[in-house]
């Protein structure tokens, strides 16, 4: 899919902006704190209706404003020309797709895939297991409504059981919540096993393209605990009940699963060089891109937040050529990209406003400011 036009109103520091994109790649250049990433954040919001930077929708609304709005016009493989309107209010969000209100996230997920490349991605290899779990859950849930439902049910049952443990509730009530917890755990782990197997091939292929080196990259699920099926999970939670009651929380389960990224079967976190880890992180994101395309048949929109500048020239070139020309890339940076990386439409960003400065035809309506009806 291609993002043809994006309109923002009261989104973070952007009071109003309407940007039309003609080419396949856009570059937003400006000093730090001007609003470059805010624009990417808005474009990335369409994927799963959440921000890649924060879980709190309220901070996306400009200070003192009742609501923020984002409208996107896409050229879409499955739906043709599609207009998406998202309104964010402190109490929640509303989404319309071609005038039809979206009421179920499960129906919506996967329609508008985006992949964000961010300088924070290094943490995927080096940071805590929670970050890797979130990467995996987001990737799988975006393509599979059943996985999303299992994930939601698992967390709901877990929250219930933990609330009971905190209160010191008797075993019978705990057992009542272990049943849906076990059913969801079995489904969740089966989904993760299958999903990681599917992703591993994409990771290996992407790593080979970027690193241009001989090592084979891989990814493995490291389950906290495993059980054969829902009945076995029930038994496992029942067996752990005594210890959980002491700790007042559910100590073991899929909420403690981790992923391990490997190079030649060895953990990249411990054995990978700085450069190898950088390549691996890019490969993880590229794997998301090809995984999304394979599952949904839609070419994801790539959002690169200040990452091009961090790469050495060789890796940057290989990264760039591995993207292919079909995909739309929207990138940010504090300085313009090298000329060898193709023809960008360039927008200068200052204080939350945008000015098209070069590349592609300057349409009359490329940048406009003023009030707008959504």
């Amino acid at each position: 899919m291609r993002l043809r036009r994006i309109t923002l109103q009261h989104f973070r520091n952007i009071a109003f902006a309407e940007l039309a994109f003609t080419g396949g790649q856009q570059f937003f250049v400006g000093a730090n704190g001007q609003g470059k990433t805010n624009l990417l954040e808005a474009a990335g919001f369409v994927s799963a209706l959440r921000s890649f930077r924060t879980a709190d929708t309220r901070v996306l609304i400009a200070h003192g404003q009742p609501e923020a709005a984002v409208a996107c016009d896409f050229e879409h493989e499955r739906f043709g020309a599609t207009r998406l309107v998202i309104k964010l209010r402190p109490g929640g969000k509303e989404v319309w797709c071609d005038g039809e209100k979206i009421t179920r996230l499960g129906d919506y997920l996967g329609r508008f895939p985006t992949v964000v490349f961010s300088s924070q991605d290094q943490q995927l290899v080096r940071g805590s297991p929670g970050l890797r779990r979130r990467w995996l859950d987001f990737t799988l849930a975006a393509m599979d409504g059943g996985y999303l439902q299992a994930l939601q049910a698992y967390h709901r049952a877990l929250t219930g059981r933990n609330a009971l443990l905190k209160r010191g509730a008797p075993g019978g009530e705990l057992e009542a919540f272990e049943r849906p917890l076990a059913a969801a755990a079995a489904e969740l782990q089966a989904g993760r096993e299958a999903g990681v197997t599917g992703l591993a091939a994409h990771v290996a292929a992407a790593y080979a393209r970027i690193a241009g080196e001989a090592e084979k990259a891989g990814v493995r699920l490291v389950p906290d605990v495993t059980a054969e099926n829902a009945v076995a999970w029930s038994g496992l939670f029942a067996k752990n009940r005594g210890r959980d009651q002491q700790w007042r929380t559910t100590v073991a389960g899929p909420h403690r699963d981790d992923l391990i990224f490997t190079l030649e079967e060895r953990p990249a976190r411990d054995f990978g060089s700085e450069g190898q880890q950088r390549s691996l992180v890019l490969a993880l994101r590229l794997a998301q891109v090809s995984f999304f395309r394979e599952r949904s048949g839609v070419e994801p929109l790539l959002l690169a937040d200040d990452v091009l500048g961090e790469l050495d020239p060789g890796r940057r070139r290989r990264f760039w050529s591995s993207l292919g020309s079909e995909r739309q890339v929207i990138a940010t940076g504090t300085s313009l990209p090298d000329a060898e990386l193709g023809a960008w439409e360039v927008f200068a960003v200052t204080g939350g406003s945008f000015q098209k400065t070069g590349g592609g035809p300057t349409a009359d309506h490329a940048v406009t400011t003023g009030p707008h009806e959504f």
């Binding site: 709901r156 049952a157 219930g160 609330a163």
Partner: protein, 198 residues
């Protein structure tokens, strides 16, 4: 607005589904536009508050000891359909497909919201089961984590001899709906709950 008007508006606003503006409209309507309605409304409220209570057997709304359904001798009270709330019962009745009895729990287990077994209308149901009055329990609680947990909690407290048959209502495709428009999760449960075609 006067202080008395604002007090009324405050009270109306606390009702479910009524916001600030609706509360204002209702108050204006009753006090200014159609004051004649007020007396009958107050009377109806007082009367209902005096007479409407929970059926001692099943928890449905009743004006005496027993609700109209429990009092209906033509129904098969050995089959009991367990629901969360009175409107669930009303919906099932509207279908006209069911001629057994009911039991209304008035909620479901929800530790997140502090709802435990003591807050549910469970004891009268278990008493009916222990007294041997029940042959089948149909669990018509919602198809979510709390609903499933409540079903499980309830079945734990049934006599283990298997004298009571326990069934769960099916979850699947809406009537008249095609497979094409159903979401994947609904299709999955519809497939899980498929049955022999005869």
């Amino acid at each position: 607005m006067t202080p008395a008007f604002e007090r009324l508006q405050q009270h109306l606003k606390q009702l479910p589904g009524v916001g600030f503006r609706s509360a204002e409209r209702i108050a204006l309507h009753l006090l200014v536009e159609k004051p004649a309605k007020l007396a009958t409304l107050v009377q109806a409220l007082e009367e209902a508050a005096r007479s409407v209570r929970r059926c001692t057997r099943c928890g449905n709304l009743a004006e005496g000891d027993r609700c109209a359904i429990c009092a209906d001798e033509r129904r098969d009270h050995r089959i009991v359909c367990v629901v969360e709330h009175v409107p669930d019962l009303v919906a099932l009745e509207r279908s006209g497909a069911y001629r057994g009895g009911y039991h209304v729990l008035h909620g479901k287990l929800s530790p997140i919201h502090g709802v435990g077994p003591g807050d549910l209308n469970l004891a009268p149901l278990l008493q009916r089961v222990q007294a041997g009055e029940v042959r089948e329990l149909i669990l018509a609680l919602s198809n979510d984590v709390e609903g499933e947990a409540t079903c499980h909690y309830l079945t734990q407290h049934l006599p283990p001899d298997g004298a009571v048959k326990v069934t769960r209502i099916g979850f699947g495709l809406p009537s008249g709906g095609g497979v094409l428009y159903a979401d994947s999760v609904t299709l999955k449960s519809a497939l899980d709950a498929r049955r022999e075609y005869s």
